[in-house]
């Protein structure tokens, strides 16, 4: 009198006698299900949900006026501007790289491809602090190019170019990593057909490849942007923390926090937390579109 005999008896009998019994063999008793759901939700609540809520509660603790003052004072505004500027330079550069890398890796078969893939992933495994350090070693005063840069009156470390380069390094793999698996799964037949029919390279990319990957591309850009605006460790090493000049938003938060201006620190932090929430919402929608177009593309290939 259990689920498995009913499966053997056939779907009709199973449905007629006790439809729920069939699934009993491959799921858990209700109390186990409830316990596991409880454990999972409690864990996520303590480690994810409560910290997120805390950011907004702490930001508004001393009232809306303090909040608005904290995000509109000159140092905060200059930090916001610098963060936006650094992201506006580094994200497009990584976008171009991501497309070039994905085109060569997904559409061609060449020697050393696996090595190249490993190299592209390298920045994921390098500590942000070390990412900052290596640019100090190259561009810093004691670094390889330090004296030459000083003689030509060029500033990279403790200035915008250093912040941008460190940000590029940290967000380097994001867009390439979104595009490569999808473009590999899509294959090359459509592009080859277009080529045979006389389309040029740019035409193929714009009319065939780009529409096929646009949602993954968008998600890669969103994630890259979120990480670019939130980067702390690497930027902290190369920025020099000059208030109003080389402080990005995360660095500004650190300074406010260390000065015990908690409400102000959380106010600026709430802007970045808002950006993170927008990123998650966009990701949710983009993933649904990728699932839809991805399965459609697979269906067309079959």
């Amino acid at each position: 009198m259990n689920g498995e005999t009913l499966v053997v008896a056939g779907p009709v009998a199973a449905a007629a006698v006790a439809p729920r019994r069939v699934s009993d063999a491959t799921t858990e008793p209700a109390w186990v299900r409830r316990l596991l759901i409880g454990i999972a939700l409690a864990f996520l609540a303590v480690f994810l949900f409560v910290p997120l809520v805390a950011v907004f509660v702490e930001a508004l603790k001393k009232g809306v006026d303090v909040y608005l003052a904290a995000i509109s004072e000159p140092d905060a505004v200059s930090a916001i501007k610098l963060t936006l500027l650094a992201a506006a330079i580094s994200v497009p550069l990584n976008l171009v790289f991501g497309i070039a890398a994905a085109w060569s890796i997904a559409k061609f078969d060449f020697r050393g491809k696996n090595l190249l893939l490993t190299f592209i992933d390298l920045p994921f495994s390098v500590s942000p602090v070390i990412a900052g350090l290596i640019f100090v070693l190259v561009f810093g005063l004691q670094g390889w190019l330090g004296e030459w840069l000083r003689d030509h009156d060029l500033k990279i470390i403790f200035a915008l170019p250093g912040i941008v380069i460190a940000t590029i390094f940290i967000t380097f793999p994001f867009i390439a990593r979104e595009l490569i698996p999808l473009m590999q799964a899509q294959g090359t037949e459509q592009e080859e057909a277009a080529r045979v029919l006389g389309a040029g390279g740019w035409q193929i990319f714009r009319r065939i490849t780009l529409p096929n990957v646009k949602w993954a591309l968008l998600y890669g850009v969103i994630l890259c942007n979120a990480r670019a605006m939130g980067e702390f460790g690497a930027v902290s090493v190369v920025s020099g923390h000059i208030r109003g000049q080389t402080n990005t938003m995360p660095l500004h938060i650190e300074i406010l926090y260390n000065e015990y201006q908690f409400a102000a620190a959380f106010a600026v932090a709430s802007l970045l937390a808002g950006l993170a929430l927008v990123t998650l919402v966009l990701k949710y929608f983009v993933e649904r579109r990728v699932a839809a177009t991805g399965s459609a593309a697979m269906g067309a290939r079959r």
């Binding site: 689920g3 498995e4 499966v7 053997v8 063999a25 299900r33 596991l36 759901i37 999972a40 939700l41 864990f43 996520l44 480690f47 994810l48 409560v50 910290p51 997120l52 805390a54 702490e58 790289f97 060569s104 559409k107 061609f108 060449f110 190249l116 190299f119 992933d121 495994s125 500590s127 942000p128 602090v129 070390i130 350090l133 290596i134 070693l137 190259v138 810093g140 390889w144 390094f169 380097f172 090359t188 080529r195 390279g201 990319f205 939130g230 702390f232 995360p250 660095l251 938060i253 650190e254 926090y257 908690f262 620190a265 959380f266 970045l272 937390a273 993170a276 990123t279 998650l280 949710y284």
Partner: protein
């Protein structure tokens, strides 16, 4: 033209290989490979005893112990709870499941400094969570563990999820028909299939935790020999203009990171072979 002649295994009618790969290699070299090699070349300017002293000073060794220990503990907790979270998300239906699923990615999207100050406020003596705990969390090694657990949370869930989704119900039905209890099916059939992905997620969370800086420094309190992580020590050396000392420690951490990268690549290959792809 040179690149395609030297590297292409198969001729392709598609254009743009030389341009795309050429740009990729150039950009990769300038942004990643050349600067990273600077760290290794810098240590060659040090004598061996100086290098050894820099990377084995008591304060540095204490920071390795904390960084590796807390990272391991955080990755372990994430492996256990990540499995539960992933199982619940894939197998069960409950209110707000989609919301919870989306929330799992929060540590990927939330800047580390924001996470750092939020966790510190929560776990401090009069914080929402800290006031209910009988022991101190903020400004102790436990605080480091809390921050690293937050940072590594999505890795296990996201590496397990596709594998668990692809798991065929037929396998579990077969086990049940052959007389296995549900617990036996889980430990003898399901868990072995999930093991490579579970280890991959563990390794990814561990590797991420090793280098983490932003979320940890606020909650750690940064007491030398007690709650000081290795990345912070690199910054401290740098601020004392001890560039060589900072680089020596960085090279040790880089070697550990590359070892983890190799291990993860191997684990991912194992996961794919288990899935029969």
């Amino acid at each position: 033209m040179l690149l395609s002649r030297a590297l292409l295994k198969r001729h392709s009618v598609l254009p743009g290989f030389d341009l795309a790969l050429g740009f990729t290699l150039l950009y990769l070299s300038f942004i990643v490979l050349v600067p990273l090699s600077a760290a290794f070349l810098k240590t060659f300017t040090m004598t061996w005893p100086a290098f050894w002293d820099a990377v084995t000073a008591p304060r540095v060794v204490a920071s390795y112990r904390l960084t590796f220990g807390a990272s391991f503990a955080a990755a372990f907790v994430n492996a256990v709870f990540g499995l539960v979270v992933c199982w619940v998300l894939v197998r069960y239906d409950f209110p707000a499941r989609r919301f919870v699923d989306a929330l799992v990615d929060l540590p990927f999207a939330l800047p580390t400094a924001v996470a750092g100050i939020a966790l510190t406020a929560l776990y401090s003596g009069n914080g929402w969570i800290g006031q209910w705990l009988p022991f101190k969390v903020s400004f102790t090694p436990v605080g480091v563990w809390v921050a690293l657990t937050f940072i590594g949370l999505p890795f296990v869930v996201r590496t397990l999820q596709p594998v668990l989704e692809d798991l065929l119900k037929e396998v579990e039905e077969a086990a049940a028909i052959l007389g296995a209890t549900r617990w036996q099916t889980f430990t003898r059939v399901i868990l072995p299939i999930l093991t490579p992905a579970l280890l991959t997620g563990f390794a990814l969370a561990f590797a991420r935790a090793l280098g983490e800086y932003g979320s940890v420094i606020f909650i750690a309190g940064n007491l030398p020999l007690i709650s000081e992580i290795t990345p912070l020590l690199i910054i401290t050396k740098l601020e004392q203009f001890d560039v060589a000392g900072a680089t020596a420690i960085a090279v040790v951490m880089l070697v550990a990171a590359f070892a983890m990268l190799l291990a993860i690549n191997g684990l991912q290959a194992w996961t794919r072979s288990r899935q029969g792809r």
